[in-house]
Structure formats: structure tokens, C-alpha cells
């Protein structure tokens, strides 16, 4: 590195120009200062939460003893887990069908599947509100986790098309000769799917699962319209807390979620080895 510095900056080495470095630093500060301040001040021993008064963990203690916050957090994780599993299955199935078969109405299905991705959140939110109010009222007072059913259904509806996109992008790099070989060797349709196609699909399933999990955990608007009064998720809970005021408890709870996000991202990167995959982009087949 030190050796490289002696050479003049090449015309395309934008990263070595000071203007570019300054710009990147400014953008980095813009993106991270609010989040880091939020995390730092969750350890601040002052209710007013602006002047540093010393280190404390008491807001974490409070957050952990706040039954409604814990419940909301548990609800969010449960919804995200169930929604991820179902979205993964539905997304992989529809991606497989679109990739493998020629059938009448394929373009229509393709278009309809893109709808949940492009339709504004608020429109989908009101659609879910109307649906669960008028067409399929979700029974009130069910035992946990059945009372979360409506939210889970809504989350699956907007997550599985994303999974389908990721899986389809991966399948584009599938070598069809492998499948032909499997068939020549006597494998049937199912056998080919399970033994040849699914292993190729696997990395995109990891990426898709991560995407579905985050989308579910992140969603506020659609949940806000679907949730009943007794089914609160973490974002909905934080929303109602934020409406009142900025409190250290919210900082502490947010910090926990941010740390969870960072861990999940790190795990995903470890599994993938390629950051572009986790963004939902088509994985580059480097092998």
C-alpha cells in the first residue's frame, strides 16, 4: 500500500482523490452519525438524553422489564420467522415454475407477481385493512401466536415476490446440461428438482430468507393497517413511543435491534461471501 502511494493518482482511481474521499466521508457521516448517536445515548445516564452524564445500563434493564416492549419484540420475531419460512416456499415454487415452464398466461403471472413489489406500501396497507375488516375478519382474542395470523398473511403477501425475484436471478445461471444429464441418467421430474435444481438454488434461498426476514421485521405501514389493538409489533410499539417523546428506553430497544441487524448481515455475508448477493441482486457466479 505504502508503495502504491508513490505513484501519481491514476485517471480512474477516483477513490484516491481527496475530493472523492471528502464526499464519501460526508455521506458516511450523514448515514451513520444519527445511528451512532442513538446507540451511544442509550448508555447515557440522563433522562433528558442530550448531555453526557455517564455510562449506565439502566435503560436496557428498563427495556428488558417493559412487558409490552418485550411482547412487541417477540411478536415481531415470530411474525418474521413464520413469514420467512412460508415466503421462501411460495417464492421458490413460483420462481421454479416461471423459470422452467412455458404456459399460457405466463406474462400475466409475471406482471401480477411484480405488483406487490411496486405497489406503494400505503395502498397495500389499506387493501389489507379492508380485506381483514370486511372479507375475512380475523377472529379476536385468539391465543398467541394465532392472533398474529392476519399480520403474518399480509407480510407473506409482500415478501414472497421478492424471494421469487432473487431465486429467479440465481436460476438464470443454471447450466441446463446438468439437468439433461440427470434426465439421461434416469431421474424423473421430482428427482431432478430435488437433486439437481435445489442445490443450485440454495444460495439464493439464503439471500431470499434474509430479505424476507428483514422486510417483515422492518415493515411498519402494512402492519399498522393490519394489526388489531392487541397485536403490537416492535415498529408499531416504537412508533407509539416516538409519538410521545424521545426517551432513552427507545434508544436502548433500537440499539438492540440495530445490533441484531448487524449480526444478521454479518452472518449473511459469511454465508454468501459476496455482499452484492445480500442486497437482493443477482449473484455473480464466480465459480
Amino acid at each position: 500500500m505504502a508503495k502504491a502511494r508513490k505513484y501519481p493518482v491514476g485517471p480512474l482511481e477516483y477513490l484516491r482523490r481527496w475530493q472523492m474521499q471528502a464526499w464519501l466521508a460526508a455521506v458516511g457521516l450523514f448515514l451513520y452519525v444519527p445511528l451512532i448517536a442513538l446507540m451511544a445515548f442509550s448508555f447515557n445516564d440522563s433522562r433528558r438524553n442530550i448531555v453526557w452524564k455517564g455510562f449506565t445500563l439502566k435503560y436496557y434493564d428498563k427495556a428488558f422489564h417493559d412487558a409490552s416492549l418485550i411482547e412487541a419484540f417477540g411478536n415481531s420475531l415470530t411474525i418474521a420467522a413464520v413469514s420467512t419460512v412460508v415466503s421462501l416456499a411460495l417464492g421458490a415454487m413460483v420462481a421454479l415454475v416461471l423459470w422452467r415452464f412455458r404456459f399460457p398466461g405466463k406474462t400475466v403471472l409475471d406482471g401480477a407477481l411484480a405488483l406487490p413489489i411496486v405497489v406503494p406500501e400505503i395502498c397495500m396497507g389499506v387493501a389489507m385493512l379492508v380485506f381483514f375488516a370486511r372479507v375475512m375478519p380475523w377472529p379476536q382474542g385468539l391465543i398467541w401466536p394465532l392472533n398474529l395470523g392476519a399480520i403474518i398473511i399480509a407480510h407473506i403477501s409482500f415478501s414472497f415476490p421478492f424471494v421469487a425475484v432473487v431465486v429467479r436471478a440465481r436460476m438464470a445461471s443454471f447450466n441446463r446440461e446438468m439437468e439433461e444429464a440427470a434426465r439421461d441418467l434416469g431421474a424423473g421430474e421430482w428427482r431432478t428438482i430435488v437433486d439437481v435444481i435445489l442445490p443450485h438454488m440454495a444460495p439464493s434461498l439464503v439471500a431470499g430468507a434474509l430479505l424476507a426476514f428483514t422486510l417483515s421485521l422492518d415493515d411498519f405501514v402494512i402492519t399498522f393497517f393490519t394489526a388489531g389493538p392487541d397485536t403490537v409489533t416492535f415498529p408499531v410499539k416504537v412508533y407509539s413511543m416516538v409519538r410521545f417523546s424521545v426517551t432513552p428506553e427507545v434508544n436502548a430497544a433500537s440499539t438492540i435491534l440495530i445490533v441484531l441487524t448487524v449480526i444478521l448481515t454479518a452472518v449473511a455475508l459469511r454465508l454468501q461471501g459476496d455482499p452484492a448477493v445480500t442486497a437482493g441482486h443477482a449473484p455473480a457466479d464466480k465459480s
Binding site: 477516483y14 477513490l15 406500501e121
Partner: protein
């Protein structure tokens, strides 16, 4: 290649059935009901009769609501423009970085993208509010300045007046840019990454400056990527609910906030349904424009 579905009917039906069922029942049917409601009329508290009226749409383009639509489009457009200006150099830097730096920079952009939207908005509130970090720092500087002034024997500069940074249009735009920047950078990066670098080198060799190369070579070649970045940023910004709700003031209502009010407070579902569908049509128009643009461009994939 693709096989006809008739070759393996059982597999086809088993794999298509569940997702199709889900998509129709839990997505298309709810949307269809909203669409039907948009032609209905409130009769009684919870009853809506489908009268096939266009009155809700007529009301949606009354000046009061038309102004909110125009404002939403303007705010979303400004957000997209700012994201493009801020994000383009970032995408360019990532593209031409070394492999290792590239991975780190992508991670840097993506980590906030993975972080909960509500938490990011909350973090901005903590920065911008009257007792927030910016006003605290400015107040501290002001105090220091006052002490210096007193030492120099100048007249006192008075008490610090905190800046009103929250609950206005400025906060909404800042919040939208903050939230949507990764949406812009990632598609820009993937477009720039596909560029043929020898073209850039040729342009620089033949004496064009960096700026000229940027605007005459890079931007035209990356145009489809820019268009998709613009679209991916514009659509969620147009329908943004949370940011104007939490960061905005009474005059920074966007269309999503009006829709929410019709459904949750005003209880005028037919009108809310009509507003939702106008928003949806605007989204589709934006997508259609982008599709047309990328079809025209020869570099489109």
C-alpha cells in the same frame, strides 16, 4: 430450455398452485375490493354501496387534494434528485475501488438499508429536534462565542435561539434522502460496474477532462441504470407515509397521510380507496415512462 407445462402437469400444478392461490386471495382480491370501493358511496357507518360513481375520483382532483398530489410528486422528485446528486459520486467511487474497498463500501451503504426504517427516522428526530444534537452543538458554540465576545468587551450576543429543524418540509426532505439514499446507490453501482472501462480510458487519453468524460461518456452509458435508480427511489418516496408523519409539520402532509386519514379517522373508505388508486396509477405511469426510456436506449439489457 423451457418445457411446456403439459410435459409435467403434476409438478407444474403442485408448484404453481399454492403461490397462485396466495397471490390471488391475499393480494389481488384485497386490491380488487379497494378498487371496487373507489366507485362506491358511504351509506351508513360501515356500509358501502357500489354505485359505480366517479364522484370519489372527481373529489380526488379537487384543488385541495390535487395540491397534495402535486406536492407529493414534487417532494419525491426533489428527494430523488438529491439522492442522485449525493449518490452518483459514491457509486462511482465504489465502482473504481479495489476489490476489498469495494466490499467495505457496499457494506457501508447497505447496513443502514437493512436497519429498521422506524429506528432510522427516530434517530433523525433525536438529531433534529429542538433539544437535539445539532441545536445542542450550536448552542454550545453560541455560548462559547458569547464568552469570547464578553472577553473582548463586545456587547452580549443574547440567548441562543434553537433552530426549528423538525416538523417542517426541510425535515421531510432530509429524512426521505436519508432513508432512500441506498435505493439510489445500489442500482447506480450495478450499472456503472457494467461499463466498459476502455471507453473511459479512451476518452481521457484523447484529451477530454474528467468532467467532460463524466457527462459525455459515463452518464449516457449508465442512463438505463440511472433511470432504474430514479424509479426505485421515486416510487417509495412518492408513497412515503412514516417520514412526513413523524418529521413533517401540519403543512408537510403527503398523499399517503391523507389516505391514512380517510381510512383510520375520517372513515371515508370510498374516497380513501379512490386516492389510493390515483397514487397507484401515478406509480404505474412512472414505471411506464422508465420502461419506455430504457427501451429507447440501445444499452438497455
Amino acid at each position: 430450455m423451457e418445457v411446456s407445462w403439459t410435459k409435467a402437469k403434476a409438478v407444474f400444478a403442485a408448484a404453481l398452485g399454492p403461490p397462485l392461490f396466495w397471490l390471488v386471495l391475499f393480494f389481488l382480491v384485497p386490491l380488487g375490493i379497494v378498487w371496487a370501493y373507489s366507485f362506491g358511496r358511504n351509506v351508513g357507518l360501515t356500509e358501502i354501496s357500489f354505485t359505480g360513481t366517479f364522484a370519489n375520483y372527481a373529489r380526488a382532483i379537487e384543488p385541495l387534494y390535487l395540491k397534495i398530489f402535486i406536492k407529493s410528486a414534487w417532494v419525491a422528485g426533489l428527494t430523488t434528485g438529491l439522492c442522485l446528486v449525493v449518490g452518483f459520486p459514491v457509486a462511482l467511487a465504489i465502482t473504481f475501488a479495489s476489490e476489498k474497498a469495494k466490499a467495505w463500501l457496499l457494506l457501508l451503504i447497505m447496513l443502514p438499508f437493512w436497519t429498521n426504517l422506524l429506528i432510522r427516522t427516530y434517530a433523525l428526530i433525536a438529531v433534529l429536534r429542538t433539544e437535539g444534537y445539532i441545536n445542542m452543538s450550536l448552542g454550545w458554540l453560541w455560548h462559547g462565542g458569547g464568552m469570547v465576545a464578553a472577553l473582548l468587551g463586545l456587547k452580549p450576543i443574547g440567548d441562543f435561539q434553537p433552530l426549528e429543524l423538525l416538523h417542517n418540509n426541510f425535515a421531510v426532505i432530509l429524512g426521505l434522502v436519508y432513508v432512500h439514499l441506498p435505493f439510489m446507490v445500489l442500482p447506480l453501482y450495478s450499472a456503472l460496474d457494467r461499463l466498459d472501462r476502455s471507453l473511459l480510458e479512451a476518452s481521457l487519453d484523447l484529451g477530454a477532462g474528467q468532467m467532460r468524460t463524466l457527462f459525455r461518456i459515463v452518464v449516457p452509458l449508465a442512463l438505463p441504470g440511472i433511470a432504474s435508480g430514479v424509479l426505485i427511489t421515486f416510487i417509495p418516496a412518492l408513497g412515503a407515509y412514516l417520514t412526513p408523519d413523524l418529521l413533517g409539520g401540519p403543512d408537510s402532509q403527503m398523499i399517503a397521510n391523507v389516505i391514512e386519514r380517510q381510512f383510520k379517522r375520517a372513515n371515508d373508505w370510498p374516497f380513501g380507496a379512490a386516492l389510493s388508486f390515483v397514487l397507484m396509477y401515478l406509480t404505474f405511469i412512472a414505471i411506464a415512462i422508465q420502461a419506455l426510456m430504457s427501451r429507447k436506449s440501445p444499452e438497455a439489457r
